[in-house]
Every structure is written in C-alpha cells, then in structure tokens.
Symmetry: C2
Subunit: 273 residues, 2 copies
Amino acid sequence: MVFYMIGLGLGDEKDITVKGLEIIKSCDEIYLEHYTSILGVEKEKLENFYGRQLIMADREMCEEGIDKILEDLSKIPEKNIAFLVVGDPFCATTHSDTYLRAIELGIKVEVIHNASIINAIGSTGMQVYRFGEIVSIPFYTEKWRPYSFYDKISANIKHGLHTLCLLDIRVKERTDENILKNKKIYEPPKYMSCQVAIEQILEAESVNKTGSVNKNTKCVAVARVGFSNQLIKAGTLEEFLTYDMGGPLHSLVICANELHPIENDMFKYFSKK
Amino acid sequence: MVFYMIGLGLGDEKDITVKGLEIIKSCDEIYLEHYTSILGVEKEKLENFYGRQLIMADREMCEEGIDKILEDLSKIPEKNIAFLVVGDPFCATTHSDTYLRAIELGIKVEVIHNASIINAIGSTGMQVYRFGEIVSIPFYTEKWRPYSFYDKISANIKHGLHTLCLLDIRVKERTDENILKNKKIYEPPKYMSCQVAIEQILEAESVNKTGSVNKNTKCVAVARVGFSNQLIKAGTLEEFLTYDMGGPLHSLVICANELHPIENDMFKYFSKK
C-alpha cells in the first residue's frame, strides 16, 4: 500500500504534474484536501480532467478522520490512496502529521511536489533569497487582535528582508454559539483581502510604534497567483487601502526598505499595471 | 508572440505540469536553462518525452545571448518560445532580468510555476513557516573564504528560525588562466556536498566565534530532492562530516535550536533512516 501526497499547484486542473496525474489515475481512492487553500477551479472540473471521483477532505477529516483512513489502508496491501493538496503537500503542518501517522502504520508514503505561494511569490520580482520569516495574518475579531505577526515583519525589515504575508482563510468555521450548542452549522467561507491585511498591519504599527512600516512602505499585492486572471500590483501600503484586488486568494509582500536594481525595475513595472 | 517561462520541477521528465507540457509541444523553439540547477535526467530523455528538440542555454546564453533571442522573437508575431528552468522560473535573479527584457520588447510573458527546493524542503519536516533568510554557500578557494553567509545562519538561529543552505554549483567555469588567455576551456562541473558545506560552516564559526552553531547543532541534509533516489537524513553537523549523501544536488537545513513537536518527530524519523 502506498499513500501518495500530491501537490496540485496553484491554478487549475492542468497545474498538476504529469507524474501526479498518472498516480491519481492508478489509485483506488482519491481525497482532496480543501481547507488550507483553494484552486481556481471546482471539484467537478478536476474530476472530469482526472476521470476519477474525489472525496472531499475538510478540516475535520484531515485532523480526525485521517487516522481511520490510514489504518484501513495499512490492512490492504494492494490498495493505494492519493491525498491531493493545493500547492505543495508540505506547506501545512497538518500534512507533516499525516505523513508521520502513515509511516508509523508501516505505509509507504510518496510525495509529489508542486508550486506553492512560497516560491511562486518570486513572480513579483522580489528575490526569493531576500525573504525573511513568513507571517500569517489572522482576521482580527472584536476581542482578539494579536500583533505578534507584526513583530516578525518588523524584524524582517530591520534585517533588510522582504516579508511574505499569508492571509487568513476561514472555511467551515462555526460561530461560538453553534460550537456551544454542538450544532454543525458552518459560516460561509471568508478570505482576507490585501486591503484588510494592510488595515491590520497599520493598526499593529499604530499600537506598537516600532516605526518599521508607514503608509509609504512599499508592498506588492498578489491575487489568484497561478490562475488565468492572476493579478500582481506594486505600490505603497496607503494605495492598497482603497484598491480592490478582486476575488481570493490574496497574499502580500511587505518589501524591504532597499530594493535591488532588478527588484526596483520589477516594482516599477508592476506599479504601472 | 509569447515567451513562456516554464518550471520543470525537481526530479525527472514527468515533473513538468500538464499545462507546461502542452505549451512545450506547441512552441516553435524550446530552450533549456542548465546552469543554475540540474534535473535527475539527461537532455535526451526530456526530448523523447516532449517529442521536441531542446536548445541548451548555458550561462553565457542566458546572460548575453538572450537579448538577441528576444529581439528576434519580438519581430515575429506568430512565433512562441518556451524557456525551461529546473525548479521554478523565478528562483534565479537572471530570470527576473530576462522577464523584464521580454516585457520591454513588447513580448507577452507567461510563467508556469513548479516546485523548487524552496518549498520542497518542507519534506524534511521542518516547517516552511519557520525558515529565515536562505543562504548560498560558495566553494572556498585558497584566497577567497567569505563568511557572510554565516552571519545569516547566526541571525536565523538567534531568531529561532531554520536556515535553508543552497550549496554551490560550478558549471562551465574556466580557470583564471583560461580566462586570461581568453580560452573557452571549461572545467568539469562541481557540486558542493553537505560534507564540504559543513566543513565551511564550522570553519566560519571557528573564525567568527559567534557561538551560533557547534558540532552538535541539529541539521537535515537532503540529496536529490524529488528524484527517485532522494535521500533525507537528520543528525548533528558532526555526524555529516563523515557521511556520504551520494550524488548531487545536495542542500542542507541548519535547524533552529528548538524544534516544534511534529518537527521533532520528523527529525527522529529521518535520523533513523
């Protein structure tokens, strides 16, 4: 038995690798993880292209149900399972955990890598070798406004590095009320926009007063990287407070204070677009 | 006219995406960049799989000859060119430059992303969100022993972050003598091993005495990531001084001092392998 963890890349059904596609076609069961990211196409389009049915794996299944799936798999030597992940399979912690659980059960695991936002962000022209620690910006709520991500942005800027900001995704979330009542009623998905991310960054600065960023700090906003309607736009934080990047997913690069010559040319190019 | 920049991923001919393969089959000319990284297969195998001939693009062509290629392309509306890059197209600075030159000539550029070591390093179990600045370790020579990469490793460790070390590749290099004599005689390719990288890191520490690393510092060595004979091995720096990871390419993760629980489990798993 083999448990294949296959990256789907970022855009549509054709961003899978040839190797990944061949494996999918040969597997007995195919799961699609669909809560840490989204592709630009619907499940049905993937199914038509693969010629196979997909089992949707939401957060509950990935965190709780996967044990059962792996245990069953470990008992059937001739069975193979494919576990499809948007981007690259190792860009979410949960998946390392799944990898280990499979190994412990004596299952052979094979990983098929693909593009993820972590390398595709290079298409902004900001050099991948000049990025510091990645940050995840969570949606602020009325009571919960954590600023720890901002410390990381500040540290990166201090060291002359860019910051890739991954913006919050809320899929299959329940309200506090529904959790308390144990009701499986889910809120509609929420994807943070660059606009909201920048509002939160500027709030963090106004509270922390590190002086790391201000309204004129350079940034590059990206939307739908790898999709046919991908958008890359460079400007200042202030400019993006009123700029609509369109549908999800958005990510944001907070630039280092100094840009290298080619980065600067790329920045200018994406400012005009 | 379109200039397609297509990532080939890391391993073999089947790591290209379905989209990338369709584009290659439709292009008039196909260049293969082959000096910033290597695949696990020969040119001929790629050509057979694509059903197309490849033009090899070495450093000279990428840095000097590409202008002519793009200028010619800009004059032929019906012509399309594919430029193939091992890994992801934007993981080398030269390629941002090529992108800009094409744009300036009014050529439409399309980028097809793929996996690169920058995200595939997640398969070590070290979380991609806990990496600091990437470092490139150059081969020391008798006279040239730069330690600046070590400052970055030290800074990452100080901030509790892992460091991805990319190890030097010397392809189509000429000796000083041959450069002076203007002779185009090239040395055989040289790829830095994890062993050599660690010797250089320990030398940098012995000179700089920052105390950031010592022989017991944890690291994860990887060789041929994405190849069918990929090797991932965890241990201390000292252990790798005498451990042979086999053929190129090698990369190295210098771990943060503290590992998260799942990272720790992955570390243990890769220690035993």
